[in-house]
Every structure is written in C-alpha cells, then in structure tokens.
Point group: C2
Chain length 439, copies 2
C-alpha cells in the first residue's frame, strides 16, 4: 500500500504477484478510496486480475468494471471461469451486463446466455461449461496430448468426461487412471460407466447430497437427452451446503433465510423476513392466554399459581426444543427417516421419563423451600413432569410428521413447537392445580 | 442378491464390479444376516473391497474383520487409504486393532501409530500421508514420470507438493501446471511459493475455514519445523463442516453435541447431553417467578393481567431469538465481527422499532376486542413494544459480546437469551401495568 502511495508501481506489482488471490481480494476491499482501489487492481497481471475479480464482493466488482477500459474488461472476461462470470453478471445492473457481453467473444456470449436461463438453485446455474472432455475412442496417448493442450482453460481436470460422437456421456475416468495406463490403451476400456450425474434442472440441495454421499470433487451435468452440458465442482458445493444450513437455521428460528450477508441487508428487508412468523406466533399466544382467562377463578383463589407459569412454559419449551432440534438435524443429515418414527418416539419417551422425574424432584425441592406450600409445590412438580414428557414427544413427533407431509422439518422447530407446548402446559397445569388444591 | 442365494457367485461378482462403492456399502448394510453380508463382501475384488470397506459404518466394519482371514485383511489394509484406516482403527476394540496392526507392513504400522497420536479434531488426525511429493530440482519430464509411476497409491494428485532435500515444504504446483509446461522446465521455477498450509495440532474448524476461504481441494500439513507430513483433502473437510454445524445447532438448543447418530445413541447418553442446561434454565425460571410473586398484590387486584404473561414472554423470546440466530450464523460465517457491534445494534434498533410498533398495534386491537378493557390493552401493547425492542437488542448484543470473551456465540442462543428476556419482560410488564392501572 505504501509502495503505491509513493508511486513505486513496479515494486508494488511484484509484491502483489506473490500474494494469494483471496488475500488480494480482501486487501482491495479494505481500501476506502475507490480510485486507488481500481488503480491497484489495474496493476495486476491479466490472469491474476481475473482470479482476484472472482473473489470480490459484487459492489466492488461493479466499481472496478466502471473504472476500467473495454480492452481490460475483455481481458478479464476472457480469463474468468464461466460459472464465476455468470455469478457476477446475475448481480450487475443492466448497463454493466450489456457492456460485459459486448466485450466477450460470440461463443462465450452464447454460453453465458444459456447458463443465465437456468433457474437459481438449479444444477444448471451452478455448473461451468469448462470441463475436460475426451472421446471414448481415443488412446491414452492422444488423451494425454489433448489434456496437455487444453487444460489451461479448464476449471477441473482431475476427472475426465468421456462422450460419444453425439456428446452423450458414456463414462468417466480419473486423470490418475489415464496417467498410470499404457499409451496405447483405449479410453473406452478404462472408463467407469456407472456415473453419478445431475440433470440441469435438479435442485442444488439434492446435488450437494450426492457430493457428500459419494465423496466427489466434481459431478457431470446432463440434459434431457443425456448429453453432457457442464460440470459442478466441489468449491461451489461447499457454498451450497453453507447456504442450505443458513436457510435451515433461520427457519428453525421462525425467519425466512436472508438473501445477503447481515451487514449488507437493510433493516426493512430484515423486518420483512422476520415479521410474518412473529405476528402469527403472537396471535397464537394471545389465544393461549384465553386458557388462563378461563381459569381466572382458580387464579383469584390462589394468585401464587401465576408465579409458576413462566417456569412451566419455558422448561416445556426448552425440552421440546431439544428433541425437535436433535431430530431436525438427524433428518437433514439423512440419519433418520419417517419409518423410524416408532423407534424415535420410544427413545424420546425413555429420555423424557428420566429427565422428567429428575427435574420434578429438583423443582419440588426448590419451590417448597421458597414458598413453603406443599400442595402448590406438588401441583407444580407433577405438572412439570407431565409437561416434559409431552414436550419431548411433541418435539420429536412433529419433525417426523413434517417429512411425511413433504414439509421442511426445520419449519417445525422451536417457536412453533414452543407455542403448542405452551398451550399443553397451561392446560395440564390448571387441571392438575384445581384438582390438587380443590379451587 | 438373488444371484447369491442361488450361489451364482461369478455373475454376482460381475454385477457388483459395475456398482459404485458407496451404493455397494449401502447394499451390504441392508443385509440382515451377518454371514451372507460377509460372504458377499468376500466376493469383491481386493481394490473394490477396500473402497467399500471405507464407506461402511463401524459396526459393519467390525463384523467383516471378524469374518475374514488374516490374508484377506492384509489385502484390504494394503489398499485402504491411511486416513480411512486410522478412522476405522479408532473405533475398534483392542483385540481387532491388534489383529489389524499385525496384518500391515512395518512402514504402514509406524505411520498409523503416528497418526493415532494426534488429538481428535486436530489437522493431524484428519490428514493422510499418501500425497504426491516432488523435488524442487526435478524437471517437468521427471515429475510426470514419477507421477505416472506413483499415483496409484496417492489419495489426491491434482496438487503436487514441492519439498527440498530435508522434506521442508517449498511450494505447490498443480498437476495442470505441470502438464502444460515444457518437459525441460524445472519445478522450482514453476511452483507457487505462497502456500496456505495447516500445522499438525491446528483445530479442524480453523482448517475448514481456510478451505472455504481459499476454495481449495487439498491442503498441506506441516510440523513445527515446516516439514511436510501430510495433506488434508476436501472430502474430509465436508464432513468436518457438517460436524461443526451439528455442534452449533445443538448448542443453540442448549444441548451438548451428540457423539454418534441419533438412532445409535442410547437414551441415557441423550439425557446426559440435555440435562445440565435444562436444569440450569429451570432454576433460573423458578427465580423469574419471584418477580410475579413480588407483584402479587397487583395481580390480585386484576387477575386478567396473568393472561398476557405467556404472550409477552414468548413474543419477547421469539424476537430475541430471531436476532441472536441471525447474528450467530453471520459470526460463524465470518460476515460479522466484534468491531461491527455498533452497526449491528443500530440496525437491530431500527428493525425493532418497525416490528415493535406494528406488533403493538395488532396486539392492542386484538386484546381490546377480546377483553374489552382499554387500559389493560394499552398496558399490554406498550409492554410488548418495549419488550420487542429490548429483546432484539439483547439478542443481537450477547452473541457479539461472546465473541469478544472468546466464548462460542452459539452458547448465547435462544434458551439462555429467552430466560434473560423473560426476566426483562415481566419486570417491564408489572411496572407499566401498575402505573397505567394504578393498582
């Protein structure tokens, strides 16, 4: 940075060439002054510039495109991998998209337009068309020659995709297998024909599942006629996994998933993501209050009863929440499915008996110590036991039922289950209390 | 399966050779009868058998080891990648470990013992020692020759690791770069020297962060003297990411993370993971009840006030929960750090004003419609507004403060924050209500 301020451009450039592209992107984003940022970017050699560009946030990409010449832009577009180009174009305003497309060659432009057509979250939108394709009739020697010639433009060459004359995917072969084979062997005899592949319109979450299940680093994407159209690489899948987890975690807290990072999201869009569930749950809990209103007489007779409402509700909520979160995560990881519902409920039942008895004893001890009313303490402790058992059963059953109904189990998480358990808890409490206390 | 029952072993073997190893492992795990399962496994050719073995659950691995000869065992151990061998040995009883080690050659045995010494969750325990190492003085032609000769035993050959005579890591070079270079070029002149690497005792979560940040598919691991001792591959990192997410999600629901899949965990170990937080939170909420007991007179004067306690507490909890979960996730993804605390709180403040006003209006409308008491409705609505604002601020501030205190922000999630908000909500409620109603 100092070198640049002192206009020692040659030294600055040499220093930057030694740096990692991700670190360079971070460095550029930390420069407050846009003109200097663009100036430094322009010092980078073409190939490194493209690598750094791919790692910049969208607003910085836009600033750079606005600050460079058409010729420089064309150079970067030429070096950029196609999936990164598409990611970038999707976020730019129309004027910039136009300028970008104008500065790419005709073939690239067609491919970009093709990729832009796939719906967001589909395998097609994740893939790159820069894969290493070999002919099933080639010899190993010819394949190695082609790889050495073409590999510079390819995003991943660890796996080669074997197609027939009509571009239909016939099999895969790892570069390693090609390298250890004899020069005169024919690719067709070496390749694996049992290929795991995705289709262009398949959901990205499903594709990520396959990556995890089969421990893959790239996956071919085919169209309806089984023609190979692209590949998806593991680095994009790691992002998909993170995205899906973020979505799940937000759903579990009764929110819609964010579209952007927290700091870049405006307060109003945060409100939009959070408001709907909050108001639904509030209305439900105003209705929950009707249960208390119904038992007003019992409450007037012994106002102390109100003291334990928060404890019973929150302990019930926490117990149910623990069960539902355990199960939602197991369902997400594919460890538990609907057919296991019997085993799950039996397990949670035993868990809840152990937890419920222990908690009820502690609760009875504490409440009778503080308030010195044995009957009230007994009513509270008995209610607590029943609430814990009910909460664990509801908390474990609902996510399972959700999978059967093809709903996302994450929707069944804490806030919704808590509200249901609140209703159950109040109902049990007043029934037990009125009976024991005779009010 | 039918082929095997009819003892058509040759056909069965041919059919299985065409299958993917992950699918074969699933198929074996679905066979109820252990003897048939082992029999079918023994039909597999040695190399495929090792691949399938690596994907089996630990209890199936144990059954197979118990059912095969020493010679077969030695064959599988020979083919298995070292990191998979170590994973497997870590889960086996001592008698099996002994037999396994007896059936590996001396060099492998030493490497296994070395890898077993690294603590769980460290980079050392994740790595494999089967990487492709090249000498910095070699020419491209010599490197390609070595790769073709050695690559069969290596787990990943897309990146080659360049070391000097003392095995010190000098740089990395991708196989692609080697392939496009001229035969007589020297590796040292082509390699990248700015290498991202891990140290053996580094935490696996940190290593996973580097993988995501730099979009890598493998990462070298060095010891204290910068000597290259192993590599970590992306397939293991995907598992680490899943594991860390599971841990976070469980912590957010006030549980310890599970050691095993849900169905394999005994009810008693589930209880152990869940009980501690549940009882702490219960004790806290019994103490929360003391606030209500303190305002017993106000409550006796207007028992209707108790009706709104559940609604105020759960709406407060949900609002705070939304904020804390958003922030915990952003912190985990590295989008937000402690220095952003001012921006975060200002943003949540604006969000809470919008949400709070809207909710208070709806609440006032509903409550006055149902109970037809204007003053009570006003007290409830005003409290609700204050609670929502307070909940969002507490919910967003606590995870930020946790990072400053070097605590896991996930510990600050819903259950703990909810309990704090319960206390705040009750306190505000009774203060507002006694003032407005004059009781």
């Amino acid at each position: 940075m100092e070198l640049i301020l002192e206009k020692k451009y040659v030294q600055a450039r040499r220093l930057m060439e030694e740096m990692n592209e991700v670190d360079l992107a971070e460095f550029l984003e930390e420069i407050d002054d846009n003109a200097s940022m663009v100036l430094i970017f322009r010092l980078l050699p073409k190939e490194l510039a493209a690598d750094v560009f791919a790692y910049l946030e969208h607003d910085f990409q836009q600033k750079i495109v606005e600050g460079i010449t058409d010729r420089e832009l064309a150079g970067i577009m030429d070096e950029l991998f196609l999936d990164d180009t598409v990611d970038f174009i999707e976020e730019m305003p129309a004027s910039i998209v136009k300028r970008v497309l104008k500065n790419t060659d005709k073939e690239t432009r067609q491919q970009i337009n093709q990729l832009l057509m796939y719906p967001e979250d589909s395998a097609g939108s994740l893939m790159t068309t820069e894969f290493m394709q070999v002919d099933d009739e080639w010899t190993v020697a010819r394949a190695i020659r082609e790889i050495r010639r073409q590999s510079e433009d390819k995003e991943s060459i660890s796996v080669l995709y074997v197609t027939d004359r009509t571009r239909r995917l016939e099999g895969v072969i790892s570069l390693r297998e090609v390298l250890v084979a004899n020069d005169e062997d024919i690719i067709r005899d070496l390749m694996t024909t049992d290929v795991i592949c995705a289709t262009t319109y398949q959901d990205q979450a499903e594709v990520a599942e396959d990556f995890k299940k089969y421990d893959m680093i790239s996956l071919p994407v085919v169209d309806n006629e089984k023609r190979l159209v692209g590949i998806i690489t593991i680095d994009d899948i790691v992002d998909v996994i993170e995205e899906e987890t973020t979505e799940d975690i937000h759903r579990m807290a009764a929110m819609q998933a964010p579209d952007d990072t927290y700091l870049l999201t405006s307060p109003f869009s945060i409100v939009k993501k959070r408001f709907m569930w909050l108001i639904i749950l509030m209305i439900l809990s105003i209705l929950t209050g009707l249960i208390i209103a119904y038992y007003e007489d019992a409450l007037s007779a012994n106002v102390l009863l109100a003291t334990f409402i928060p404890m019973l509700m929150s302990t019930g909520g926490n117990s149910g929440n623990q069960a539902s979160v355990s199960l939602i995560r197991s369902i997400t990881l594919g460890e538990v499915e609907f057919s296991d519902i019997g085993r799950v409920i039996w397990k949670e039942f035993r868990v809840s008996l152990m937890v419920g008895v222990a908690m009820a004893i502690v609760c009875f001890g504490m409440v009778s110590l503080i308030y010195r009313q044995v009957l009230v303490s007994a009513a509270v402790a008995i209610t607590l036991f029943v609430v814990v058992v009910a909460a664990k059963l509801v908390g474990s059953a609902l996510p399972m039922v959700a999978t059967k109904l093809r709903l996302d189990p994450a929707l069944m998480a804490s806030p919704l289950i808590t509200t249901i358990i609140d209703i159950i808890a109040l109902f049990i409490y007043f029934n037990v209390a009125t009976r024991i206390l005779g009010v």
